[in-house]
Symmetry: C2
Subunit: 430 residues, 2 copies
């Protein structure tokens, strides 16, 4: 008869909900600070939209359902397809640049493991309609700005940045055949997670050309943009792509976040759809999955039946982030709620006064809670403290005899006698 929750989902009791709100409120604040506007779509869309256009891995993890009309639907595994659909629907009416953010709940039928659940929250920010690399700088800045506001420093995290377009142009400079580009990205994407030997083997399997493999390996060992100019013979296209990336770093420097940013040629992102700069933010220790990732995907709208419009963005889930914040001691597990007043009532004759006082304070905009039955002072004080009350108003013998209440400051412990109406009539809460 007892019912269980479904594996891979979470229950948010008030304690966990406060943590979730702290994270999502931080995402929202950073987005608004950086000039993004919030949007959202439905929790389910047509299944076909995800099957055709999401990355392969995501398409395999869909929770699909059928409605009464026999339509095939799926719970959203990500919000990007919805974003593309919504923007395409109103492409001519929306003022550009389109700078939107969302904090969707998304579901993926994955095997639950550390940092991966079947239901999670994912912060998304996107800029549509800006070709210049300034949009990419804005996206990276906003992600870093949030992480910094949560308490993480440049010693904790690093944004690893590269460019898919630059890599494609360099591949061409090196003589990698065009049809090998996409499989090569997949190999490079695995590099950080496997041994050098395993990497060499995968590379050989993909390219089957030892001299070329050596060149690619050499390329992957390049640590700075300066080295790129110096050690690779760049075609004009490749040089202009490197120049663009250099400009991106100059902008990040002007934004004051260069400590958080680092060129890393091995960042390619798994998904095939990226077309320009790409980035991932990792813990410096490199022990966790990426905290977030993103990049330019200029085919976003076109892939969903719309026009060609430049686009760049990123996504950050709450699961790996929470692990990282906890490891760095940035999560307060004793977060209580906040309450302006708790009304203590020591006599059943005074319950009606307690009720009207509580309601009067709430009507003025204060948060207020009361005991639902007269109980011992200590029990009521304990409850008030548990709710994070700033003040207690004590209704007892003093009120019955002299019309006075006790006003106790729960932080300092100080208590003074007050006339009840003087408390209620103080200024309205801002």
């Amino acid at each position: 008869m007892k019912i269980k929750p479904v594996k891979g989902t979470r229950d948010f009791y008030p304690e966990q909900m406060r943590l979730r709100n702290w994270i999502t409120d931080g995402w929202k604040s950073a987005s608004l600070r950086c000039g993004f506007q919030e949007y959202d779509g439905p929790i389910f869309e047509y299944l076909a939209m995800y099957q055709q256009k999401s990355g392969d891995e995501i398409a395999e993890q869909l929770f699909s359902l059928e409605d009464r009309g026999g339509r095939n639907l799926a719970i959203r595994p990500e919000i990007t397809p919805t974003l593309a659909r919504m923007v395409n629907q109103k492409i001519n009416a929306l003022p550009r640049p389109i700078k939107w953010f969302s904090v969707p709940r998304v579901c993926r039928a994955e095997r639950p493991q550390k940092g991966r659940l079947r239901e999670f929250f994912q912060w998304n920010i996107d800029i549509i309609g800006v070709e210049d690399i300034i949009a990419d700088a804005e996206v990276i800045f906003c992600a870093v700005d949030y992480l910094r506001s949560a308490g993480l420093t440049a010693a904790d995290i690093v944004a690893k940045i590269s460019s898919r377009k630059m890599l494609a142009d360099i591949f061409e400079s090196l003589g990698v055949p065009p049809e090998k580009h996409t499989p090569l990205y997949a190999v490079l994407d695995k590099r950080a997670k496997i041994s050098d030997e395993a990497f060499a083997e995968m590379l050989d399997k993909t390219l089957a050309d030892k001299p070329l493999e050596a060149k690619v390996t050499e390329l992957m060992n390049i640590k700075t943009i300066k080295e790129l100019y110096e050690t690779i013979e760049l075609t004009d296209a490749a040089k202009s792509a490197v120049d663009e990336l250099k400009r991106l770093f100059e902008m990040l420097d002007a934004m004051g976040i260069s400590d958080f940013c680092q060129f890393d040629i091995s960042i390619v992102r798994g998904l095939a759809y990226y077309t320009g700069p790409v980035f991932e933010i990792h813990d410096r220790g490199g022990e966790l999955r990426a905290v977030c990732g993103g990049g330019r995907f200029d085919n976003l709208l076109k892939d969903f039946g719309g026009p060609e419009v430049p686009a760049t963005g990123m996504g950050m889930g709450d699961c790996v982030l929470e692990i990282l914040l906890r490891e760095k001691g940035l999560i307060d597990d004793n977060m209580t709620g906040e309450l302006d007043y708790y009304i203590v009532c020591l006599d059943s004759e005074l319950m009606s006064t307690a009720i009207s006082t509580t309601a009067a304070l709430r009507s003025k905009g204060f948060s207020a809670e009361m005991t639902y039955k007269p109980a011992k002072m200590g029990k009521q004080m304990k409850q008030a403290a548990g709710l994070g009350a700033k003040y207690c108003i004590i209704l007892g013998q003093e009120y019955l005899e002299h019309g006075m209440v006790g006003l106790k400051n729960m932080k300092t412990g100080d208590q003074e006698d007050k006339i009840l109406s003087d408390i209620i009539d103080t200024e309205t809460k801002a």
Copy 2:
């Protein structure tokens, strides 16, 4: 190739999202003011949980799905079963009273129509562990407190209040056989929506006892609690139930919301599970469906395999509410976002300064946006206004020549020359 949204769902473009946030933020504020703590559960649960325990109507409207392990799941059509599951799981660890609220997204496979969509948001507040009617008063107060904060007055809405327990006891006083109680509630629930003749017919079909039907019809015409005492011969049980309801109205009066409250014996609520006071809030005109409804359901935890613990609560969806608020002129359709600063840049040489200024303001906690390319003053001003900017910082010739920027107050139109660093170095945003 163009993909459509699913019928009965909504896309929240920034404009609609601002409205949705205004509503849900209002719900959250009222909940916190009244001492409720936020919780949430997964978007899907085991199908069986809803099939067994939701009202019949809801069980027929489930969006069900199967996961890879063959488990039968459903998207939540309401959050009450999740609440019961969560509370039961930790019943001995949770301090009482349990006063929780949630603002879940829920889905029902209904035919979309005015005020009914297949996906909506529903504010839920519940108090578990309080037997006294004060908990019912608190729930009604909180619902009214929100509606009042949204701008609705006692001339716009009314909370119609009755008691299922009282009705059951009176039915017994009148001699209605116990097995007829539940079907009779269903008939009474329809009364406001059908003609007197249709009502009489349904009543006859259910009771098949003319004298008894006359008594029930007479009962339904009673307008005040006073009349109840005077015109019905009440058993002791019925009298104590009426006394309790009388106390509820006294509390609502002490809370200062009696203008919003009215006894209405015809309110029974469709669902079978209510066990005490029940209420619905309606527009005074009576033209819309109920804005919200709720009541006492002391079997809540027990129905889900838990112990017997008293409970009372209510739910309010966003669809009917939005229609009502719009009808009353309380929705501002020109709500813009808010932005502290918009950085206008008139010269490409100054783009780097614009970038660093924008980032510096954001790093101080201000919201700031900039143009992504130097454009004409008018175009940039228009964009700033569209984003709800309070101030524009104008970077142009004056800055290149004398290091001065223009600071324009977008509300008054006043503009003054400033040293850039003086603006950035002003106090940090609270």
